[in-house]
């Protein structure tokens, strides 16, 4: 790889701002120098393989996990020193539902949760419960993963917090409920100004909602950028080359992937399109196609560069 991928956003008001978060569990590095920047009002998609550090990052923001070094701020509040205030401003859907309230009925849990949030909107909670087909008479402990997820989504959304931290929010939901959940989120964003950090394996599901993306791997935030930036700078180039082609010295960009066949090469490159096309043509290649990538393809290229 030559060049590098963007790891800092351009100036702008940040709802979430972490600096150099590092965390180890035993000899396992969970987070390594993570500087997460989520602009106010953004829907920020946090992607990465299992164990990349997505859940840990979200937990640091709620002070459920403490980093060894680095700082984290949510709306300018230090998450360690002002944890109760931070939590009051956050709706959180954990990856693993907390079974501590297993004996409690869903309806009772919602009432209990409402007491902690002065901004709890009871009529909205009722509408969400209906949308999510919650059975309020059931005990939490007997719910399936998907049912519990829907209870947590209701709890997270109904107090209309300025920040939502959603850890795999559609995990365990059937396709119908997944789709319904995306509709609920779109509606929620239209109704209440909200910043969202969403971690998921189902990138294609949230393609329409996300306007920023961060790529975590082995505890490192490899890249973060706006979708606009991604749309402009990440391209796949398909190029016809002469027999015995000697290649191109530099592409003025970061080569993420290269596929070579006789007389044809395909590059996935982060960089300015016009300059890259010029370099390829100048080196004797015929550029046949330049295409932007779907979000899922872009994610895979950023996560698994194989130059």
């Amino acid at each position: 790889m030559t060049g590098s991928l963007p790891t800092r956003l351009r100036d702008g008001e940040l709802a979430v701002d972490t600096r150099g978060l590092t965390k180890r569990f035993g000899d396992q590095v969970a987070l390594n120098d993570v500087t997460l920047q989520v602009p106010t009002g953004a829907v920020y998609l946090l992607v990465g393989p299992n164990g990349a550090g997505k859940s840990t990052t979200l937990k640091v923001l709620l002070d459920l996990v403490r980093a060894e070094t680095g700082t984290a701020e949510v709306f300018g509040l230090n998450t360690r020193e002002r944890a109760p205030e931070v939590r009051a401003n956050v709706g959180y859907v954990p990856e693993r539902p907390d079974w501590g309230y297993g004996w409690m009925r869903v309806g009772r849990l919602l009432e209990h949760h409402a007491l902690y949030y002065p901004t709890w909107d009871a009529s909205y909670a009722a509408r969400l419960a209906q949308k999510f087909e919650l059975r309020t008479d059931r005990k939490m402990g007997v719910l399936s993963k998907g049912q519990a997820r829907r209870v947590h989504l209701t709890m997270a959304l109904a107090h209309r917090p300025p920040l939502l931290l959603l850890d795999e929010p559609t995990d365990g939901l059937d396709p119908f409920m997944r789709d319904e959940t995306l509709g609920v989120l779109a509606d929620h964003l239209a109704e209440s100004p909200t910043t969202v950090v969403l971690s998921t394996h189902h990138v294609e599901e949230v393609e329409g909602l996300a306007d920023h993306i961060g790529v975590l791997r082995n505890g490192e935030l490899r890249a973060q950028m706006s979708r606009d930036d991604l749309n402009v700078n990440l391209r796949r180039y398909r190029v016809e080359v002469p027999d015995g082609w000697s290649g191109v010295a530099s592409l003025n960009g970061t080569v993420l992937r290269r596929l070579t066949a006789p007389r044809e090469v395909q590059w996935t490159v982060w960089g300015p399109e016009a300059e890259i096309v010029q370099k390829l043509s100048g080196a004797g290649g015929t550029v046949r196609e330049v295409v932007p990538l779907s979000l899922i393809d872009a994610t895979l290229a950023l996560l698994n560069p194989n130059d």
Binding site: G208, L209, R238
Partner: protein, 128 residues
């Protein structure tokens, strides 16, 4: 007017929405002074960020295809179904066809010839 997105289309979503509205204007499924769906309704229907729909509507307004009545909503500008919008739509189709031709190593002339040939041969088969 129906607005739908093609999951295979990698262009930004706001541009796809702009094109869908343009298409509806040219086809007449969105009548002059006809209402567009609210930002909220369209965002929910398409499962997209409401900001993206707002961005599309702002772009449509900038291009004069729609106008906003404060507090009421967004409406199609009259007299948009012909001329300029038709040409813009044709340009988009041409751009995609030419892109596909180049990818296959064909020139614009070869593409145009092929279209005329094909049309001549299939004139009686297709009503379009």
């Amino acid at each position: 007017m129906l607005i739908s997105l093609d999951p295979q289309d990698t262009r930004p979503i706001y541009i796809q929405i702009v094109d869908e509205v343009r298409r509806a204007l040219v086809l007449g499924t969105l009548a002059p002074d006809g209402p567009l769906p609210s930002v909220r309704d369209l965002a929910v229907k398409l499962r997209v960020n409401p900001n993206t729909v707002s961005q599309a509507y702002r772009e449509l307004e900038r291009q004069g295809m729609v106008y906003v009545r404060r507090g009421q909503g967004t409406y199609a500008s009259p007299g948009q179904g012909d001329g300029v919008e038709r040409r813009a739509l044709a340009e988009g189709v041409a751009q995609r066809a030419l892109h596909d031709a180049r990818r296959n190593g064909l020139s614009a002339d070869e593409l145009i010839d092929a279209i005329r040939n094909y049309e001549g041969k299939h004139k009686h088969e297709e009503s379009l």
